[in-house]
Every structure is written in structure tokens, then in C-alpha cells.
Symmetry: C2
């Protein structure tokens, strides 16, 4: 039985969402953060050597890392849904947006958080656009070309990227006024029944910022 | 013609290495960082909206993001080499280590760099193991189970992870004495002809730290 171990208000919400979009039979196991430290509880950290969310179990397998879990679930249970095949003209776009969330956007956000926790700009740094600014500009431009990140169709690339645009902004606030394409996209995503089911199951007490 | 746009002393060295391991016909275009700021030059930043390395071009396609580029090259030119098929028992390991470098290890290193640039621990933070410490412990444990990250065979997962263990330590120094499995692994990697060819082409003046 596929089990999604979801840490509250964390990136594992995207795996819950993936399962809902694929309409899979899966078990959802929720773990709450320590209310004081906001750290994952010890039983979550013990699931996988990474100590971080998400983690899934499936029979004897324990697997971490969002991108790996997404590719595993899509390959084993997806039957070709939510992906583009290698011969699709937008396949490189699919790959780019499948990887960029974890490879560039989330690291940019984490760097911003560390910088903010330490009180501002790095010593000696000249003011310049942060990597997060570049990421938002990149996404805004893409969503001016196509309704979804890989192109005409909603795919797992959207699922991988969304956290940066929504829950991530609870940690690193950003006004979406300058990003009309992102705002319209978040409206489209927020209307998806599977997204709404997933967020209601994953974080019932959280108002996901869609605007 | 496949062209690898390599920014000197950057993560794009892994794409050069991938091409050498696959023995591809490709063009290597080198770009040097600004000697004072260490930033990428303007013509590199203009290649792709991300502004970061690596970038490839292939006919009309321009593609960024290490993981996306690796999957694209493997799918189009790899003929099954350096990957594990979905029915291989180690396929989940392959996926995990293919993604963890960019999804966890490099972000951990970037967070360390921001923290160091700003002069130490985040305000109010209790001393605890950094995410980089966890990453090194995770990799060391894995290399006690198998000679390569995905298992018995060298794969693209090794190519994706290595920068964190080698060139990354030029930015975030770490003594490898407590990590005998990683040290033995780096010796195996350093003996690979394709690795040596790649590093000689990508950064001829750089002594990649393999110990």
C-alpha cells in the first residue's frame, strides 16, 4: 500500500496533491511540526536519512526527495497521465519545470530565509535582484506564453512548482500584484477539485495563499 | 549540434562530464566568471531566463537546469546508458540520488554560504547539525552499502551528486577525514577517463578537490 507521510505545512503537500490528481488508492499519514520550534517531530525525521519531507513508503520501499517520489509514482501508477512523452514537442519544457522548482526556486527561497533570519543583505553585497526575484520573473514570463508550465496541459511540472508560489510565500512573503499571469494561474489551480481535496486532507487548518 | 555552455568553476561541469561519459559529439563553449565579482558574464546570463549554469543548446532548443538537461541528454542520446530502467530493483535508489543533489544537497550548501557570508549562525538559532552535515552523513552511509549511489553501477546519479562533494568544497570547505567511504568513492571517480577528460576541458586550471 502506498503511504504518503505528510509533514504539516511542508513540501510533502505536493505528493498528496499528485496522488489526488491521479486518483490513487493511498494512505495519508500526517505528522505535526513541533509548535515551538516548527521542526519535524522525531518520528518523521527517523523515516529517511534525509530527515526532511516528503517521504513515501510503498511495500518495503522508503523513498525521499520530491522529484524522485514524483517520478516513481508517475512511472509506477501514472499510466502516462500528468507527464509529456519524450517525443512531445514540449518535453524539454516539461523537464525544465519539473526540475526547476527544486533545483532553483526552492533553494532561492531558502537562501532568502537564511539571509532574513540573519538580518539582511550579506556583508559587502551590492543590492541586486535576488534569485527569488529572477524565479518569479521567469515563471511570470512563462505563464504569459502558455496556461501551464509545460504548455497547454496541466502536468506534474505544475505540481512540483506550485509550493514556491503558494505556501512558500507564508515563509517568504511576496505581493503578487506585479505578476498578473501568476495570479490567473493560481486561480486556475485553485479551482481544480483534486487540488482542493488534497489541501483539505493535507493541511485542513491552513489557508493556502492563492492570491 | 549539441552545445554545452559551461560557466567556469560551476555546476555545468557535470554536463560536460555526462557528455564525455556518453562519448557524444558536442561543442563546448566556455565562459569565464568576472574576476572581481565571480558573477557569470552578461552573455552567459542572457542565455536562459534562469541566468544560471548550466545551459545547453541543441538545434532550436535552449534548456537550463541540471536535472532537466541530464534527463534530456540521457533520453535523446543515452541509449539506456548511465540510467537504470524502471523495472530495475535499484530504480528508486537511482531516482533518489538523481534528484537529491539538486533538491537537497546543493540547497544545503547554498544556505551554508549565505549564513557564512552574513557572519555565522542565524539570530536566535540553537547550534545543531546543518543540512550539509546531514547530507554528508547520508552519502557516507549510502557508500558503505554500495560502490555507487544507485548501487553496483556508475550512473547519472553519481554525475548529478559529485559537485557537492568536490568543487562545492572550494566554496564550503569540509575535511573528508571522517568520511572514509566518500574518500574511496572520490578515488574511484577520479580514476575514470571520462571524468578526467571532462575536467581538463571544463576547467583546465582548476585542481578539483578529490580528497
Amino acid at each position: 500500500m502506498l503511504t504518503v507521510h505528510h509533514l504539516g505545512v511542508s513540501q510533502s503537500d505536493r505528493i498528496v496533491w499528485l496522488c489526488e490528481e491521479l486518483d490513487l488508492a493511498y494512505e495519508l499519514k500526517r505528522y505535526d511540526r513541533d509548535p515551538a520550534t516548527r521542526q519535524a517531530p522525531a518520528d518523521y525525521k527517523a523515516l529517511h536519512p534525509s530527515g526532511t519531507a516528503p517521504v513515501i513508503t510503498d511495500g518495503d520501499l522508503t523513498l525521499g526527495e520530491s522529484g524522485a517520489i514524483a517520478e516513481y509514482i508517475l512511472g509506477k501508477y501514472g499510466q502516462g497521465r500528468l507527464t509529456l512523452a519524450p517525443d512531445h514537442p514540449n518535453y524539454p519544457d516539461y523537464l525544465y519545470w519539473l526540475h526547476a522548482g527544486q533545483g532553483s526556486f526552492m533553494p532561492a527561497m531558502m537562501m532568502d530565509l537564511v539571509a532574513r533570519a540573519m538580518g539582511g543583505q550579506p556583508a559587502g553585497a551590492a543590492p541586486r535582484a535576488s534569485r527569488s526575484d529572477t524565479a518569479f520573473a521567469n515563471i511570470e514570463a512563462r505563464l504569459g506564453q502558455a496556461p501551464y508550465l509545460a504548455g497547454e496541459d496541466f502536468t506534474a511540472a505544475d505540481i512540483m512548482t506550485l509550493f514556491f508560489l503558494t505556501t512558500g510565500r507564508l515563509y517568504a512573503p511576496r505581493d503578487l500584484a506585479p505578476y498578473p499571469n501568476i495570479r490567473a494561474y493560481l486561480e486556475r489551480i485553485g479551482a481544480r477539485p483534486a487540488f482542493r481535496r488534497a489541501m483539505a486532507k493535507a493541511d485542513p487548518d491552513l489557508a493556502i495563499p492563492l492570491a
